[in-house]
Symmetry: C2
Subunit: 359 residues, 2 copies
């Protein structure tokens, strides 16, 4: 298992970007991990680290027509010269759930994790060390078979690409965001693919996201597709509410993405002694709670966004300001603990950090 | 407008496939139409006919990650040496609706239609003439911008590829199909993207389609995502019921694809003197109608499937046989009229056929 994967060296290395202006997902490193699937050649084959370069796709590649495209997002951090991944096993487990939902072939989670470690080892000079910075890791799988019949494809490609990144929203990652509660468009519905990390879910969100941006909001908060009243998730984050010192977050119901940051924050909060409730939360209940003065803090969680305070919620003709548009104490504490463990500044009793060895 | 588009000649032409074994969407012609979009270079540019060949995509191309991918399907027919398109204006109008829903740039419908005619003219030798055969035309647009932020892309590519094809289901296109009514998974919901021809809708359907195939059914019939009782559409077709001589089909509600064959069949049926009703139809109502002996015929409509009789419907623990598993007289009549007009064997009073000129 810890055998070295094939390595195709490139001639010239890229110039690294200015660490002060990384942005998110804009720069890519010198290499990527590549893996091919052919149902008639025994499945996955040809795992290799190869120069980051354009891929050739037949114009009839099924992924481009019928959307068999799944992805994951995780991060590597550097601290005291050591490079670590954060809970990568969770991402490889989830990509298998997404693959399963789209009738795409399963991957060997341990084999891919080993391949990822070797890739990140090769690229360790690309892992930025600044506050809020990390190497964003994007595994994705897409159907490459050429043909226009609608059926599960026989050929796929998996790639893992790496992007040194700053905070997702740019600037201070603890600047409270402004959220628009979407009451017209719907992201997902039970029985659909909302729980899976698939390309189509994101395409479906863009119009709503643009409308929100035009009105001066950063992100959209989705309501359920059936009753249009239960809170689901934000565009790129799960959402948490602090009511009377207790954390409340929507229960996973099949149409919400089971966020790994969500899961980790729930575990961390419980460890720190907070009560956490996962349940249905209607938007009306939330506004009532606000009116009674019980809604103390709101924050979102996600790999890209980490833990991000919400300062404003707009629903229909009402706009409410949370905690005076400041980062609340519980949000701040969770952020400090979470990023402390991630980056290696704090202890890691759960073993969430996975060190990337030098091969 | 009828200026010639740029033409890049290829050295060697492909060998054409055996017309007896075309299948559907398996072979592609020598050329494709290509068009690029760059929001910073004034939009769409560089419309050209170019050799059919693999495309180069950055691994971070947004279409592969966030599913900004829309497509269309239409057909060209050859009759008495003349090549015709069938209602192509409808497809270009619909692709603009799909593009709009995914925040992708609009195309100039007339310009693209003109480009398509020139492409089909170049490839007229590829248009098959056999019974049930046609040149399947696949316009599609995908986001090419490299970057992992979730936002509408600034760069896109539009391609039109051509595939000489036989009937979609293989063999006799009037062999009644077996349909499984899906009661677990959901294709789309109001407020989502069900009305648009976007890649993600098809990816979401594959698991259900495979389950149905394993149980011996050809296709899935979707119910609405909210109440799970109203009939929406079949995987690759809209659906029609004949009750007491009257045609009934689900009303467009935002989650059903507004099929061009559906629209054409409705117009045609009315012209032939049939009553046509577009309304909500619950699965229970349909079964009741069957029990009363009023459900005479069922058929699906779609560009690929044309008009396809349904012989069997399976819902929960019930399986019903329609019209003794034979093509009914109204289905047959509509099929004959529709394919007659398409292929040029019958008159075309509505002007649905568009002749491809020799440039």
């Amino acid at each position: 298992m810890s055998e070295k994967v094939k390595f195709e060296k490139r001639e010239d290395l890229k110039q690294k970007p200015d660490p002060k202006n990384l942005g998110f997902g804009q720069y890519f490193t010198d290499y990527m991990l590549s893996y091919d699937y052919d149902s008639e050649k025994g499945g996955w084959h040809d795992l290799k680290i190869t120069p980051y370069a354009p891929i050739e796709l037949d114009p009839a590649a099924q992924g481009l027509h019928y959307g068999q495209l799944v992805f994951e997002g995780l991060k590597a951090y550097k601290h005291n010269g050591e490079v670590v991944l954060f809970r990568p096993d969770q991402n490889f487990a989830r990509i298998n759930q997404s693959l399963d939902r789209l009738e795409m072939p399963q991957i060997d989670e341990e084999e891919l994790l080993e391949g990822l470690k070797q890739l990140v080892d090769v690229e360790r000079d690309w892992v930025p060390e600044g506050e809020g910075q990390s190497l964003y890791i994007r595994p994705f799988v897409f159907a490459t078979e050429a043909g226009l019949g609608v059926h599960p494809a026989h050929n796929y490609k998996l790639l893992i690409i790496l992007s040194p990144s700053g905070s997702y929203y740019g600037g201070d990652s603890l600047k409270p965001t402004r959220i628009y509660v979407e009451d017209e468009y719907v992201r997902a519905v039970r029985g659909g693919v909302g729980f899976a990390k698939v390309a189509g879910n994101y395409a479906a969100s863009l119009l709503s996201q643009s409308n929100a941006n035009e009105q001066g909001y950063d992100q959209v908060l989705w309501l359920d597709g059936v009753e249009r009243k239960y809170i689901e998730e934000v565009g790129s984050m799960n959402i948490f509410f602090v009511e009377n010192g207790k954390l409340v977050t929507p229960k996973l119901n099949g149409s919400i993405l089971p966020g790994i940051t969500r899961k980790t924050v729930i575990a961390l909060a419980k460890e720190l002694g907070y009560e956490v409730e996962e349940r249905h939360i209607s938007i009306d209940e939330l506004l009532e709670s606000y009116d009674k003065g019980e809604l103390e803090e709101v924050f979102g969680t996600g790999t890209a966004a980490v833990i991000s305070p919400v300062g404003t919620l707009k629903y229909e003709d009402r706009e409410i300001t949370i905690n005076n548009n400041e980062t609340g104490p519980i949000t701040q504490r969770l952020y400090d603990e979470y990023t402390g463990i991630q980056s290696g500044k704090l202890d890691d009793p759960q073993g969430w950090r996975v060190v990337v060895p030098e091969y």
